[in-house]
């Protein structure tokens, strides 16, 4: 069974993302694997452990500097890693369509006529939070998809998955091939062992060039830093708090 996993890198939540000359400043940012992609990769590795002969290949549409994320994926247990790059300097992480298009071309090109049985993605990246790439990728690959899964159990020719909906849970049967995007709660990603890290250093990261001449669907026209600070009014006790909320704010 062939399993593809799409990963990207995002700023570590503990890093301070700066602002310089009207743009986001990444100079003080520590990049890590997108947390949702880690759940996707973990689920792919668990699938591989259940089905003998499975091969997990990780794809990342990213500049050369983002290779560390692929190394981390190899250290966790992925068999192969592919960095997808495009010559036209069209790498626009803010446009989900071009990201999905680049990934779909890399996956189609890499596997040839027989597409992978499963493609795992994180449900969204934590930086732009569009949550659009997985379903777009599925449409481009001609596959079914389920977004934001919280559990997965193979059952004969089906995969039984679940996801949270408003006020409940939806249990869904899906057939191969499919794109599944991972929500937190799907699993607990494994830690990388020292041996895994050493072995990952020896593995090669393949490069796959894609051509992207299409226009983006959406253009990022500007960013402004947000002043999040509020001026906190400290109240002396519970009586005063209740009076403010019920009387002044009329919220209760």
């Amino acid at each position: 069974m062939n399993i593809a996993v799409c990963v990207c890198s995002v700023p570590d939540t503990a890093s301070v993302v700066g602002y310089l000359d009207g743009a986001i400043d990444y100079s003080r940012v520590n990049m890590v694997i997108n947390p949702f992609d880690e759940y996707a990769l973990e689920e792919a590795l668990r699938f591989k452990e259940r089905v003998e002969g499975s091969v997990v290949t990780v794809f990342s549409f990213a500049p050369d500097s983002a290779k560390e994320v692929l190394r981390k994926a190899l250290a966790m247990g992925a068999d192969r890693a592919v960095r997808v790059s495009c010559s036209e300097d069209a790498l626009q992480p803010s446009d989900p369509f071009l990201t999905a298009l680049g990934l779909s071309r890399a996956i189609s090109g890499f596997y040839g006529a027989i597409l992978p049985d499963l493609v795992f993605c994180g449900k969204q990246s934590t930086d732009f939070q569009s949550a659009q790439v997985p379903s777009m990728l599925a449409e481009l690959l001609g596959m079914a998809s389920v977004s934001g899964i919280t559990s997965l159990h193979p059952s004969g020719e089906f995969l039984r998955v679940e996801r949270e909906i408003e006020g409940g849970i939806e249990a869904i049967d899906v057939t191969f091939p499919a794109v599944l995007s991972a929500e937190k709660g799907l699993n607990e990603p494994r830690n990388t062992s020292i041996r895994g890290v050493m072995e990952a250093r020896k593995k090669t990261i393949d490069l796959f060039q894609v051509s992207l001449l299409e226009e983006p669907f959406v253009v990022l026209s500007g960013v402004e830093p947000l002043e999040r600070k509020k001026i906190c009014c400290f109240v002396p006790d519970e009586h005063e708090l209740l009076r403010i909320l019920s009387h002044d704010c009329n919220l209760l």
Partner: protein, 324 residues
């Protein structure tokens, strides 16, 4: 002239309130535009009588009422919406922000080659969308480049007061020939939770963090939430410690909430948590550490141990509600 198409989501034959709000907001946008018409697409068998007087403005609703569309099916729903959008020469497609919309809209975007933007408020006539990125550290502006456009409306934007009871005409869409291939993914079962409202939709959220100390400590949070008719929320620490389920997590790897009133109890206020409460109305922080960053994100702060403050507050709220 623009033609707006609004996706009306139903579950078990009931059209969702969030879709009706979306319809009313799009009517407001059409009125602002002056020269636009609004239509709706409703998939699944629904007694349309329930919509009498619930929808503002005039418009046509295309109703694909066949039984095969009773529960959500990604491919069938996508096809019904795409066909209607194209056949009726619509220019813009609108969704309320729901799980179903997030599952279907990206697929539709590729199929009808439309720009897809989420987080839109309809209060301005601007085609672009401005929303928070990077855990709420930045406000980013996005501009569509394609002519057909799909918008997922921001759930936190206010719904306009609009006179209800417009003239709505229903046009039935003929049942289609479906194949087995488009049957999957197939929803097998829906398990609805009972009791408190979902944290993403609640008007009041009472959230707890590390300071609650244990799963048992959350009894206080549950009590206050239940008294106020609100939902329980949790920080990442509380979820990762196994005290609460992920469905209640608020923040970067959890939910984004926009309640009118938010209580942060024993939550320090890490950046990844603040990412989820940027659109909340009044934020109240209760924490024993006066230097905790949560107070920089709060409107009102009470410095004290949650295990002492909350029982007192719960008693006072009980008294207050009795007098009401």
């Amino acid at each position: 002239m623009k033609k707006f198409l609004v996706f009306l989501e139903q579950r078990e034959g009931i059209v969702k309130q969030s879709s009706l709000s979306a319809w009313n907001r799009v009517q407001e946008l059409a009125a602002l535009d002056g020269n636009s018409v609004v239509a709706g697409i409703l998939a699944g068998p629904v007694d349309t009588g329930q919509l009498d007087g619930a929808m503002a403005g005039d418009g046509v609703i295309y109703h694909a009422g066949e039984d095969g569309l009773g529960v959500y099916n990604q491919e069938r729903y996508t096809r019904v919406v795409a066909d209607t959008f194209t056949r009726e020469a619509c220019t813009d497609l609108f969704f309320a922000d729901t799980v179903m919309a997030r599952d279907m809209a990206p697929r539709l975007s590729v199929r009808i080659q439309a720009s897809l933007l989420s987080g839109r408020t309809t209060l301005d006539g601007d085609d672009g969308v401005s929303r928070r990125v990077y855990s709420g550290s930045f406000q980013a502006s996005f501009v569509p480049t394609r002519q057909p456009r799909i918008y997922i409306l921001s759930s936190s934007a206010p719904v306009p007061a609009f006179p209800d009871g417009g003239r709505i005409n229903f046009i039935d869409i003929e049942p289609q020939q479906w194949t087995v291939e488009d049957l999957f993914p197939m929803v097998r079962r829906i398990i609805m939770g009972e009791g408190p409202p979902d944290v993403a939709e609640a008007r009041i959220v009472v959230a707890g963090g590390r300071g609650m100390g244990s799963a048992e400590g959350f009894a206080l949070i549950e009590q206050l939430a239940s008294l106020l008719g609100g939902a329980v929320g949790a920080s990442r620490t509380a979820v990762d410690s196994g005290w609460r389920s992920h469905a209640e997590q608020i923040g970067q790897t959890g939910k984004t909430v926009a309640p009118a009133l938010y209580f942060a109890c024993g939550i320090s206020g890490a950046v990844q948590h603040l990412a989820g409460i940027g659109s909340a109305g009044v934020v109240v922080a209760i924490n024993s550490d006066r230097g905790a960053p949560i107070f920089d994100a709060a409107d009102y702060g009470l410095v004290g141990d949650v295990h002492i403050v909350l029982p007192k507050l719960i008693d006072l709220v009980k008294e207050f509600l009795k007098k009401q």
